[in-house]
């Protein structure tokens, strides 16, 4: 199942990132995964949080946010694990737009988040190949 990622427009200026994170902290929203892609002028902060709808409503007050479906794939924490996932997607001709990894400490498992061009196909092919996808975190 796809999970929700919130993407946040953040100007590439001192103090801007902390403003966003502070809001989430004060609202008791937990950040489970994050990545930042930046250009010279701005960055796009991508978050997977405990309450996506609440985070969107909160952050929309100050900046532009967008919810995107992504898939999170559970991986064994061993060499070659990421290769296996990517190989599966590649064989199915699915393009990865971007990706980032995180671990969940309690379980010591590793997860990789993928933004792909064809999410339905990607889910099916990964499930068919025995990968575990996260429904929620």
């Amino acid at each position: 199942m796809a999970i929700k990622q919130v993407s946040v427009f953040v100007e590439n200026k001192k103090g801007k990132l902390v403003e966003v994170i502070e809001k989430l902290a004060k609202a008791n929203i937990n950040i489970q995964a994050m990545s930042i892609a930046d250009s010279k002028d701005f960055g796009i902060l991508r978050l997977i949080v405990s309450d996506n709808d609440k985070a969107v409503a909160l952050l929309e007050e100050d900046t532009i946010v967008k919810t995107t479906d992504v898939i999170a794939v559970k991986m064994d924490d061993i060499e070659g694990a990421l290769y296996k996932v990517l190989q599966t997607l590649d064989k199915a001709d699915i393009n990865v737009d971007y990706s980032y990894a995180f671990t969940v400490h309690k379980e010591l498992d590793a997860y990789v988040v993928f933004r792909v061009d064809n999410i339905a196909d990607a889910e099916k092919i990964l499930a068919d190949n025995g990968f575990t996808l996260l429904n929620n975190i």
Partner: protein
């Protein structure tokens, strides 16, 4: 050749100048009324007849012309003669929708070139000088004006046009140029280029420079004078009245003498249109007293400045205007190109942005920079950096097409552009030109 190009008129008494102006204005108003339907309508609407203008003081009764009139009347609406009597056009830098095309008879060209000749002689020019003209040639008035003036003085004229600094320097050194004519920013650039090549200021034969077509500061004058080892003189003009040479600096360097026998200057309150006394800051208004083909009466320049009739040590008696202290509209001159914030707004709306923006103009290494902060909309946003960066690039391209110069666009979060009293501060000009 002496101190003046046309001593008799340049040093005429106030009474003589007024007498010339009185005669010329009566004739000119009749010429315009008879030949320019557009202005005749404006006069009729105001209830002014040519007979009402008996002296130069009566000029107050005439209606103003603005840039908007020039746009409405484009291209032939303000023409005062048959086209067969015209020999030339010149045009402004031509930002979209604001282009001015001015027409000249041979008489108009001659008086314009004489004005430029006065400026060259005031800067110490004689027929023994080598005048290097690196203003642009073509539609822009800078090159043709100074070129013609230099011919009238009898100087050896190097019609270099702008750019190709290597070649400029080669001709300057090999042919021993003595007077340089260009924009002040280009003069500063040439000075830097000479220094980079290891030339000292005393290595060139230049003695003076005549610089105009863009705003520049006293500090910039000093830097150019030091860098080139010359005296740097200001020159002012606009295509609407003729081109450079409407006014020019003399050795005193305390303002520019307006060629009052051809161009009558008034300072008005930009809000009420009321004429202000000498010494007060207001909008400069020009009347062409004897141009035939493009005879603008009471043309509002939008330049804010001060007139002074204080006796000048150079002996010239014509009124002096200060360097423009700003503009009464929101037009910016960036790298010599006229930019209106309204053009930027048009592009933003066309491209699907909100009209919330801020223009930041600065000058780095003597070149103007232009940055535009634009508020991003949810529709434009994507979680992919490349897509947002492409939007930024596309907007820069659209701006370049509209403005003629390429600004750097910066996308910002909504509501981040500073507003004062509910209104956005549209322009931040950090160039400190006035």
């Amino acid at each position: 050749m002496g101190k003046y190009f046309q001593e008799e008129i340049e040093t005429a008494s106030r009474e003589e100048i007024v007498k010339i102006q009185n005669e010329k204005i009566v004739k000119q108003v009749k010429h315009v009324y008879d030949n320019v339907a557009y202005y005749r309508d404006l006069m009729d609407k105001k209830g002014v007849k040519p007979e009402d203008i008996k002296t130069i003081d009566d000029i107050k009764k005439l209606p103003f012309l603005t840039k908007a009139d020039l746009r409405d009347a484009y291209p032939y609406g303000l023409l005062g003669t048959d086209l067969k009597d015209c020999v030339r056009i010149q045009s402004t830098s031509g930002t979209t929708g604001k282009r001015v095309v001015a027409f000249y008879t041979q008489h108009d060209i001659d008086l314009w070139e004489e004005c430029c000749a006065r400026a060259i002689v005031a800067a110490g020019g004689t027929n023994e000088d080598v005048v290097q003209v690196c203003y642009g040639y073509g539609l822009f008035t800078g090159g043709p004006g100074l070129n013609g003036g230099s011919h009238k003085v009898g100087s050896l004229t190097l019609p270099m046009s702008s750019g190709n600094t290597e070649r400029q320097i080669q001709f300057m050194m090999d042919l021993e140029s003595t007077i340089l004519c260009c924009t002040p920013s280009y003069a500063a650039f040439i000075a830097e280029s000479l220094a980079e090549k290891g030339y000292k200021p005393e290595d060139n034969k230049l003695k003076a420079g005549i610089f105009g077509a863009e705003p520049w500061t006293e500090e910039m004058r000093q830097a150019i004078e030091k860098g080139l080892g010359i005296k740097a003189y200001d020159i002012y003009g606009l295509t609407e009245t003729s081109g450079p040479g409407v006014s020019f600096e003399c050795e005193e360097q305390t303002g520019m003498h307006i060629n009052e026998d051809h161009f009558y200057a008034e300072i008005i309150d930009p809000d009420t249109g009321e004429v202000l006394p000498d010494g007060e800051v207001g909008e400069l208004v020009f009347t062409s007293l004897d141009k035939e083909a493009f005879p603008l009466l009471r043309y509002r320049t939008r330049d804010l400045c001060v007139l002074s009739r204080k006796k000048c040590s150079c002996g010239r008696t014509h009124v002096k205007m200060s360097k423009p202290k700003g503009r009464s509209d929101d037009m910016l001159i960036i790298r010599g190109v006229n930019v209106f914030p309204s053009q930027i707004e048009t592009v933003l709306l066309n491209e699907g942005y909100t009209p919330n923006y801020q223009i930041i103009v600065d000058r780095k290494n003597n070149t103007d920079t232009m940055d535009i902060n634009v508020e991003l909309t949810p529709e434009q946003f994507s979680d992919k950096v490349a897509e947002v960066a492409d939007k930024e690039k596309a907007l820069e391209g659209a701006m370049r097409t509209m403005l003629g110069i390429g600004p750097k666009v910066h996308l910002c979060a909504p509501k981040t552009i500073v507003r004062s009293e509910g209104k956005a501060v549209r322009v931040i000009d950090n160039r400190k030109l006035h």
